[in-house]
Symmetry: C2
Subunit: 221 residues, 2 copies
DNA sequence: CTATTATTCAAGTCATCGCTTGAATGATGT
DNA sequence: ACATCATTCAAGCGATGACTTGAATAATAG
């Protein structure tokens, strides 16, 4: 024990905050919020080198935000529990609530002022049951394959302009992606609205949907 | 706008986390949770130099965790809103839930295993109304003077051993301090229990009590 | 206006972090 | 046992952060 237990405690709290203080690690956490992943898959998705990715993961593990297990020769990481997700969420909420900068970045994405309110998860669940809505999963195909909202169509952002003519325009379109940290859904909605299509964003992404106990179509892990 | 809005966003989130990643700044936030303070008062309480303290405060302000106003020649800082407090709380919860290290530090304080469950704020409010409890504010006298739980006695940690004989042992003792980051109450309870006195800790401190809308005796600012 | 007091700015130092590269470890399959 | 593959470790480099010192700014008092 150190001379100052008070400082030692604060040091531990600070360690957790420091683990969240690098964009690369937030990207990793966002990926892990989709489901557990191996090191190589994470490196791929985030564009980090394997070694660098491994080092970041070890920092996250030191802060107990993630845990790992072995599976054959691979090491699989996952979020420790829902509290990690809660912490990320609150971090985002504070940042968005307070920083004009964030506002401006998100504004820029929706190419102006016509970004509508997001749809709540509860509302979307009801409307899916009614069949009065088309749900688009705008994440990459492999993430869709690993699990998605029941009834959602996969439409990666790259193909969205191409696929517009095939959409059923009678139902409203709701797009979702990885979660609050992810801007795919923002971009998709902006693209659709530019073509005059009635599209909105889901509040939150797949991790939040799953956390709420709403129906998910699970793929192979 | 940068080439990658995604990274720019994550950079903003990371900025908030980074602001929380230094023990010195957590100390400052803990002080500010007691109420607004000037730079010099904060420097005094935390043991930082004035210049260093000012720099930390500016980082907290950049992350929008605190705001400031001028009052004559002094600049007064305060927490931006309750979300800052919530973020600190969640940080602590995650750290304590996950890190064996934290457990060990807190165990060490209560000199063993006999640390009882803390009293909830709700329960304490009821029992104060009944008069079935003695509430001790173990913060320094000046902080007590600036505001405390209605009915609480001030008993700074330094004097606690000396004052033990004067306590009414019929009622249970409940000690509180600045809040979850503060270990005064832990230490006070440990000291009292070492003398066989029935003492417990309040869950949370004055900021949480105030946040819950429970009765506070406000002193001069 | 000048002096005073509270705070902030600026420059410098030392430590730490993030990333890269290349080697070491650990589990699996032949 | 050996080769193979995924991951981790270790060393090095450049950038950033924390703290110190001393000067600059801003508001008030005389």
């Amino acid at each position: 024990m150190s001379i100052s237990p008070k400082l030692a405690l604060l040091e531990e709290y600070a360690l957790v905050a420091r683990a969240l203080s690098a964009p690369a690690r937030l990207m990793l956490l966002e990926q892990l919020a989709q489901g557990e992943r191996g090191v190589e898959a994470l490196a791929d998705k985030t564009g980090l080198t394997i070694a660098n990715c491994s080092q970041h993961l070890q920092q996250l593990r030191r802060a107990a935000l993630v845990t790992s297990r072995r599976d054959g020769k691979a090491v699989i990481y996952r979020l420790t529990d829902a509290k990690t997700l809660a912490l990320m969420d609150l971090l985002r909420i504070v940042a968005e609530r307070n920083l004009a900068q964030v506002e401006r970045i998100l504004r820029g994405l929706s190419s102006g002022k016509d970004a509508p309110e997001p749809v709540s998860r509860e509302d979307l669940a009801v409307r899916i049951a009614e069949g009065s809505v088309t749900v688009l999963d705008v994440r990459p195909a492999d993430e869709y394959a690993a699990g998605h909202i029941s009834g959602a169509l996969n439409m990666p952002l790259i193909e969205i302009e191409r696929i517009i003519p095939t959409l059923d325009l009678a139902a409203e379109i709701v797009a979702y992606c990885r979660g609050p940290y992810c801007i795919y859904a923002h971009q998709a909605v902006a693209a659709l609205r530019k073509h005059g299509i009635n599209a909105r964003r889901l509040d939150g992404g797949l991790p939040e949907w799953r956390e709420d106990g709403l129906p998910v179509m699970s793929g192979a892990q």
